[in-house]
């Protein structure tokens, strides 16, 4: 009973935070790309366009969902559901922090607790395999969407997507296997815990710096394959708009259209979390707490607050006089919370995890703003002729080094 209640609370919290993140990731992406291209980005709805995701959601919900007469109705409607479903399953086993202990408390005469819970919905033994399994099932959503639309562009998009996802799953699995060799576990929490500590006092034991085989190549291969798995530029052939109009979702409108975007962003967050847990040490800080890594988050937030206050004093736009000080107060409050000793052991791991995932997501957006799209034969040739042999060689060398040392 206790387990059920705690799990329901966690489920509600994770779902709420995750859905909000999905909506705001869109805003971040538009803003970052806009600034890369020297534009303003969304700036009309709310201060700095911050209410734009809300407006987008309302627009997508209230728009008419057109059901084209020539589609295979059952699969046409099942495909977006399948895509979102598969994308959301994998987030349930991502541990995004160490855990939290709620001390015993009294409510009236009844005593409760203490409760101890981890920051993930399911602590699966086969965590990393489960993510691979779910991502391999995720192809069906896109492939079926392309096929059931009964449209040549959509079909081409669906075919390209399934071919691309099958091809890039091989180097991805091989890149995942290499750090697992030295970790000796498939559990995401254990893998991350094994990367705790520092060699020579400063170099973290993350898989990319690991002794005896630094996993830097696996990390790069994993990230390249992750771009292809999530259908992002430079591998977004399934929705190449100058060849295929919009690819597999060309016949979709309203919420079914939004579902594919939700799935894409959810997959992006999942692969970034997996990369963080496997290669970047999960929630382990960049340098030891003895040298003050606990003060990074409060300092950054306090700095952001000061900048907000300064620009609030010298407003560039009339409403900046009100909005920026409000942001400043919020940042200052967060900084205080991050520096508050009882919350540090809970919030600090979470901060480091979110910081790494956020950085990787920024890399995704950055590359979208920078690189052009591959040609289709280049995409396939790259996967099979370059990435796959390199991943295989990397796995062999890692295995050899691990065997020699142990």
């Amino acid at each position: 009973m206790e387990f059920l209640i705690i799990t329901s609370i966690k489920l509600a919290l994770i779902l709420f935070v995750f859905m909000t993140t999905l909506a705001y990731l869109q805003w971040v992406e538009r803003k970052v790309i806009a600034h890369v291209q020297v534009r303003m980005g969304p700036s009309r709805v709310g201060p700095h366009g911050l209410l734009q995701p809300l407006a987008d959601v309302i627009k997508l919900i209230t728009k008419e969902g057109v059901l084209p007469p020539h589609v295979n109705t059952f699969y046409y409607l099942a495909a977006p559901f399948l895509a979102v479903f598969m994308a959301l399953i994998s987030i349930s086993i991502i541990p995004f922090g160490t855990g939290i202990t709620i001390p015993a408390f009294h409510l009236g005469s009844a005593a409760y607790g203490p409760y101890k819970t981890m920051f993930e919905l399911a602590d699966a033994n086969m965590g990393i395999l489960l993510i691979l399994a779910v991502s391999s099932m995720g192809v069906y959503g896109i492939a079926l969407a392309g096929w059931s639309s009964n449209n040549k562009y959509a079909l081409m998009g669906g075919l390209r997507s399934s071919a691309q996802m099958i091809s890039y799953e091989l180097p991805m699995s091989l890149a995942i296997a290499a750090p697992l060799l030295s970790a000796g576990s498939l559990n995401l929490r254990q893998i991350s815990d094994l990367q705790a500590g520092f060699s020579l006092g400063v170099i973290p034991h993350w898989a990319i710096f690991q002794y005896p085989a630094p996993q830097i190549f696996s990390f790069i291969i994993f990230m390249i394959a992750a771009f292809a798995e999530t259908n992002r530029i430079p591998f977004d052939l399934p929705e190449a708009e100058n060849e295929l109009v919009a690819g597999f979702h060309v016949e979709y409108s309203s919420m079914t259209f939004a579902a594919f975007f939700m799935a894409e962003y959810a997959n992006m967050i999942t692969v970034c979390s997996v990369a963080t847990l496997l290669f970047l040490g999960g929630w382990q800080p960049l340098w030891p707490a003895a040298y003050g890594s606990d003060f990074v988050a409060p300092l950054i937030l306090a700095g952001a607050a000061l900048i907000c206050f300064y620009h609030g004093m010298n407003p560039a736009r009339p409403f900046d006089r009100i909005t920026l000080p409000v942001f400043g107060v919020v940042f200052l409050g967060l900084a205080g919370l991050m520096a508050f000793p009882p919350t540090v052991p809970v919030l600090m791991p979470m901060f480091w995890f979110l910081a790494k995932v956020g950085f990787l997501l920024f890399v995704f957006i950055w590359i979208r703003a920078t690189l052009p799209r591959f040609r289709y034969d280049q995409l396939m040739g790259f996967a099979w002729k370059f990435l796959f042999p390199v991943a295989l060689a990397n796995l062999l060398i890692t295995g050899l080094l691990v065997a020699l040392v142990s």
């Binding site: 033994n125 086969m126 399994a133 391999s136 099932m137 492939a143 079926l144 669906g158 099958i166 799953e169």
Partner: protein, 170 residues
């Protein structure tokens, strides 16, 4: 609870398997087969074979069935047209099914030990050696020879595939 899930997913597996045969459209058949694979994976999980579950989903439901669906989509196969049943199926179908079920039932009842020491029945939660480590240890110590022979078999199959594909290209 275990029994409830077993019955639920056994029913789903059987229903999907029947649907594979009855569906007219190839895509529907292939997706029903995916449903069967997934339901079987849950049955493995109930028996404690964690690793097999993941391999079942990744290899069968993921890779192989995606290729099936891919080929069906590529050929753009339409719904099959019924041509009526052959006279053999019409006359001998039901009796043959009854005979098969009777034979299966007879062998199960006589050959399986119904009253015996503990362990002769499969019980949910009894088996715990289904992790990756246990399976790896078993494969590379006890069953090393069959494992290597299988890998040679797969190598031959890969070579055969390359040779066939090259002939097509010329």
């Amino acid at each position: 609870m275990d029994l409830f899930f077993f019955l639920l997913f056994a029913f789903i597996a059987v229903a999907c398997a029947v649907s594979v045969v009855l569906q007219k459209h190839p895509i529907s058949c292939a997706l029903s087969l995916v449903g069967t694979m997934a339901a079987l994976a849950v049955l493995y999980l109930l028996l404690g074979a964690e690793f097999i579950v993941m391999v079942q989903v990744i290899v069968y439901a993921g890779a192989i069935m995606v290729l099936f669906v891919f080929v069906i989509m590529l050929l753009n196969a339409g719904a099959e047209e019924g041509r009526g049943r052959s006279w053999v199926a019409r006359i001998a179908g039901l009796p043959a099914l009854a005979a098969l079920a009777g034979l299966l039932g007879y062998f199960m009842l006589t050959l399986l030990p119904m009253t015996g020491p503990k362990g002769s029945f499969v019980k949910f939660g009894d088996f715990t050696g289904g992790g990756a480590k246990e399976i790896g240890t078993a494969l590379f110590t006890e069953y090393l020879l069959p494992f290597e022979v299988t890998s040679i078999l797969i190598l031959i199959a890969i070579l055969g595939a390359i040779v066939l594909a090259r002939k097509e290209l010329d």
